[in-house]
Amino acid sequence: MTDFDLDAQLHALRPPERSKEYWVDFTARVTRGRHYRPPPRPAPAVSWLPQIAWGFCLAFGCFVLGYYLGHNGVSRQLDRVWRQDRQEIVRFQTQLSAYDEHGLRKQLAEQP
């Protein structure tokens, strides 16, 4: 079958005939259907501002809390470590000074 033959056969399919009254009534039916529908409303604008503000506040709160806890905790730990280190250094110096001329190590009583 050629394309021409196929087109000829396809054009044999015709929509059903309708009267003039049908077409006049169709327009009226469409406009009636239109009146029953509510008018299209614009979509509500979505504002992201409240969410951004809440997120910022939450982040700031977490930062403050973390800074407070972390700062105090770290300071105490650091102080403890530094104190221990100073004590070790002093002890070491004291012990170091106990070496006699022969290289023997004699531990003296720790000085206060």
Binding site: L6, D7, L10, R14, V30, T31, R34
Partner: protein, 182 residues
């Protein structure tokens, strides 16, 4: 030369109801033919045609004039026909089978052209909705492949392929047997 419907659309958006009625009158036969060939059912075709214009009214503010108004209207109608296809899948199978049986069982009944119309409708309904739409828009409504692509929301290449594939199938289905009656 611009689209003559664009001025009617502008008038309608400015609140002129007669402008929309003119648009309906200008395109109602075209849309009826499209929906009938897509569904094969006069009743469904009428409902879909009416729904097409109602939707067009609701979405008129979204028509920007980038394509012809008729192309935009075709797109609404085609989408409604696709939705109808999904809803009525089973009923469509029955109707297609009935149409095929009529064509087979009554080869001598009525005018040959009417019987051929039934066979063509049955063959069209056997195509996928997308292929059927491409054939209907180009063969019956005279749209170019580019215009049909805009109406279908796909590429021109896709439309060309769908038409090629559909025509191949239709030729096989509509091939008249050697012993057919005149």
């Amino acid at each position: 030369m611009g689209d003559p419907d664009e001025s009617l659309v502008v008038q309608c958006l400015n609140g002129d109801p007669a402008a929309f009625e003119t648009l309906v009158r200008n395109h109602q036969r075209m849309i009826h033919s499209l929906t009938y060939r897509m569904t094969g059912s006069p009743a469904d075709a009428e409902d879909l045609a009416q729904e097409t214009f109602v939707r067009a009214y609701e979405q008129l503010a979204g028509y920007h004039g980038s394509a012809k108004f008729s192309t935009w209207l075709y797109r609404i109608a085609i989408n409604l026909c696709f939705n109808w296809q999904q809803r009525e899948g089973r009923r469509l199978e029955v109707h297609t089978q009935w149409a095929q049986n009529v064509a087979i069982d009554r080869p001598e009944a009525g005018a040959g052209r009417a019987d051929l119309g039934g066979r063509v409708q049955a063959a069209l309904l056997r195509l996928s909705a997308a292929q059927r739409a491409a054939v209907v828009l180009t063969v019956y409504d005279g749209l170019s492949h580019a215009e049909a692509a805009r109406a279908l929301g796909c590429s021109e290449t896709t439309v060309s392929w769908r038409i090629f594939s559909a025509r191949r199938k239709l030729k096989a289905w509509l091939q008249t047997p050697a012993t057919s009656h005149d």
